[in-house]
Symmetry: C2
Subunit: 511 residues, 2 copies
């Protein structure tokens, strides 16, 4: 690299470092808001976050970035740059072009409307009153659609909805998703029927036995230790706290997860800690030399979800993990679970049963919840349905796909925060994560034939190393379609995930 | 106000609101760093705080502020503004003039050197090695002196050191402090001799009885309830956490305190919670319509300290408070304190004994620790002594004023973080707080003759109301000398504090 090219590139990276630093500060304020903040602090916190978001937007749209981008990307020696440099420049340009094309009034108005819509959603959900929620959702949807129409031009996507998907899963299209979700749906419904009609059904009452919160906290620390998510040492870069809805937040050296402890549902905190722990391992194991650079980000929300699902389900709900961990759980819980056999426990935590609430769904039905949301989003943005019709279409879909009757909109269309928060195009990531995790498992098994017996001995090191090498360490060097191709040698493919499920559940349910 | 004057004034206030919001965000990040952050997060946190500080400096020195100040303060109708408007403008101008006069390189260099000096101080303190600390302290001192020399011009103070005092205690001078500290020193030393030579000495062994941390946490919540610092309700604007050194941070609706629980020194958390709680009540009871305005700040660090000392010592170490609270403490601690009488307990928590560590000092000797530091600072800035000579002069002063022998510099000149943190001119506030608290007590007693019997019944409401009305609600409308004159009808005066001490300790020690 010649001196000018190098110096412009470094200036760009310095600007990125500032933007990332600002975002990381804002994410601590978000975390504090959910976990620690005294309730009265909410108004001041909103002001603080709005201010950081304004400053962040200004930094991200600084014309100097545009100038430096031109200087580097039109430089005669640009083509001699290595792939990391080029990827950084590509990602900086993508974000800059998108953010500068969105009119500031639209960004500000959408962010204000978002706050109102979330607030209204909370109240409407508590009162089971979709009519109250509807007008605010309509306003937010309209603003987000306007933004999507602008982004569609910049991103050159086929539809506005595709432009939103691209935010969370770059280069993914609604066409591809429609195709793979169709296969996924058919596979899942088939499996669901088999599980439902099997005479062999688990006794899930054992999961309702009382385990005090203090004991669950101890279990949580053991789980963190098992996956190698350090929350106690003097070199720790993580912590576990309690919130209504579990989440992971942070960056590299400070990555925090939350869980919720229910005394009469001890499995809830176990699996949320494994799930969020999977997210945390991804963040903590990104390449340290790429910290603060765009390539130092995770690949996509779908890949993020593949990591959480891998640790939660493929590892955490496996017979082998519980071969190792059930004796520990029994010891910690005194005589609460002493009579429970390994087989009974593993079947109970893998109970397949259609339900109305996504976040409580099992591995088999989970994808169906996501597919319903994707179909609705896609049709909303294509003007095939209206916000007005959402509850009806939602309820019909739940009846058709899952065979459940939604009693009211709070357990129906208003159950998730995403739409109230303006997160359209996000839902597909959840199911894509499952699909990726199946492909990852398939590949890992070829290299680590005895991974299951290692887990049964409590040893996750090789699994983690494999994930580090094949997923985490690539950061955001590739787009999701590129990354899955590099790892699996082929495109997004539902089969490995469906095969994994079939193998697992045929054994559990005896079909 | 005419429209232009009004609109410029409002624009200024809007800018102040942004600055305060940014500072409040930074203070949450500071709090998190001390209480919650995983250790590995420290480097990223330093970057975040440095960035917010840079942004804050830029906002505070925005030339638009200078323009708007001219527009308002030179406006023909300026003189018709009310005192609140005028005070806001005065405070904005003061801060703007000071910050714009300091060269940015000096600010940045001092802030970098500060981080290095603090880090070196921590290590040097652990190794009792002043020689290691000295060169970094010298560098920081030099930079701070440069800044003081510039500020001296802007603030028009008599000496550079006076310019630093003015940061924490506006309009206060080292001349006034020297005068009142002389009287204070004489009074305190006289009292100290009387206490030391009294045959009546307390049994302090009772304060070393073991009280588990969980019990101390319950005691802490009861204390918070007593002073009306809400940390549990759905409308709570506060919380109590644990740190090595207790502190208070926050603004209006989100004010947090910390304490430290020692199983073998239960009184430590009791008095730190009362002390920090006194600070918190001040912040929480500032006038809500002045929120985000300069007048909505506290008056000074000295007045802040007067509030913490009032609650900790005048209320919290009074016989009447323990008449009410000792039975509760006994109940919470099981049979740990069942044999202790009220008289013995009150004398034990008011044990007067010269010591080497400021933060552990009693009410009588505390001022002497502060006076030693003030003398050293004043002489350092006047080039009468050098950093090199600090340890020797420190040790001689401790021997002379307190009759104690300092064994090493870690329990001597390196005990406090202030000088390593660049906080010169701060120490006097601690003793000024005591002096103000004496004047406040004197005035309050004239209006609330039976305040002690109210406390004995567990009722702090009238005391709090008096402090709210006379101190908190004035915010930063007056300078400290003006405020004490308004409250007490006279200038800073040591007598009421010395009289309070004499009355209290003559009774305890029987002289």
């Amino acid at each position: 690299m010649t001196k000018t090219l190098m110096s412009s590139y470094k200036k760009l990276l310095e600007k990125m470092k500032n933007i990332v630093t600002l975002h990381s500060a804002a994410s601590i304020l978000h975390w504090d808001m959910e976990t620690m903040m005294p309730p009265k602090g909410i108004e001041m916190r909103s002001l603080q976050l709005a201010m950081l978001s304004r400053i962040g937007h200004k930094m991200s749209t600084d014309p100097e970035i545009g100038r430096l981008l031109k200087e580097t990307m039109k430089h005669p020696e640009y083509s001699s740059l290595d792939p990391v440099h080029k990827r950084n420049l590509y990602l900086i340009k993508k974000s800059y072009d998108e953010q500068t094309k969105l009119p500031e009034e639209l960004v500000v108005e959408a962010s204000k409307q978002q706050a109102v819509t979330i607030d209204t959603w909370k109240k409407a959900k508590a009162n089971k009153d979709f009519a109250k929620f509807k007008p605010e959702l309509e306003k937010l949807f309209k603003l987000k659609k306007q933004a999507a129409e602008i982004l569609m031009q910049v991103k050159e996507t086929a539809t506005p909805y595709d432009a939103l998907i691209d935010i969370f899963e770059p280069k993914m299209t609604s066409e591809t998703i429609s195709k793979v979700f169709k296969e996924l749906r058919e596979g899942l419904i088939l499996l669901l029927r088999k599980c439902e009609t099997s005479p062999k059904q688990p006794d899930t009452a054992i999961l309702k036995r009382q385990v005090p919160i203090e004991t669950q906290q101890k279990i949580g620390k053991l789980l963190a230790e098992f996956i190698g998510y350090d929350v106690t040492s003097a070199k720790s870069g993580g912590r576990i706290d309690e919130t209504e809805h579990p989440f992971t937040t942070g960056y590299y050296d400070d990555v925090r997860i939350t869980t919720h402890y229910y005394p009469n549902r001890f499995a809830s905190s176990i699996f949320s800690i494994l799930h969020e722990g999977g997210h945390a391992l991804y963040e903590q194991n990104l390449k340290s030399e790429w910290m603060f650079q765009p390539v130092g980000d995770e690949c996509s929300m779908g890949f993020h979800e593949s990591q959480s699902r891998f640790v939660e389900n493929i590892v955490g709900r496996s017979r082998e993990f519980w071969t190792y961990f059930l004796p520990k759980l029994k010891k910690l819980t005194g005589n609460v679970l002493s009579d429970v056999t390994l087989d009974d426990f593993v079947h109970a935590i893998n109970h397949v049963k259609p339900s109305k609430i996504r976040v409580e769904a099992d591995e088999v039905t989970y994808g169906l919840h996501v597919i319903i949301r994707f179909n609705l989003e896609r049709d909303l943005f294509a003007d095939k349905i209206t916000i007005d019709e959402l509850p009806q279409v939602w309820n019909e879909s739940y009846s058709k796909y899952l065979g459940v009757t939604v009693e009211d909109d709070s357990e129906g269309v208003m159950q998730d925060t995403h739409w109230a928060s303006g997160l359209y195009g996000y839902f597909p990531s959840y199911a894509l994560g499952n699909i990726y995790s199946g492909q990852l498992l398939y590949c890992m098994e070829k290299e680590q034939q005895d991974w299951r017996s290692q887990i049964a001995k409590g040893d996750l090191r090789n699994v983690k190393q494999w994930l580090n090498k094949n997923v985490h360490s690539h950061g955001n060097l590739y787009s999701p379609p590129e990354l899955i191709k590099i790892i699996a040698g082929k495109d997004l493919d539902v089969d490995p995930f469906l095969n994994y499920l079939h193998e697992k559940y045929s054994r559990l349910y005896g079909f």
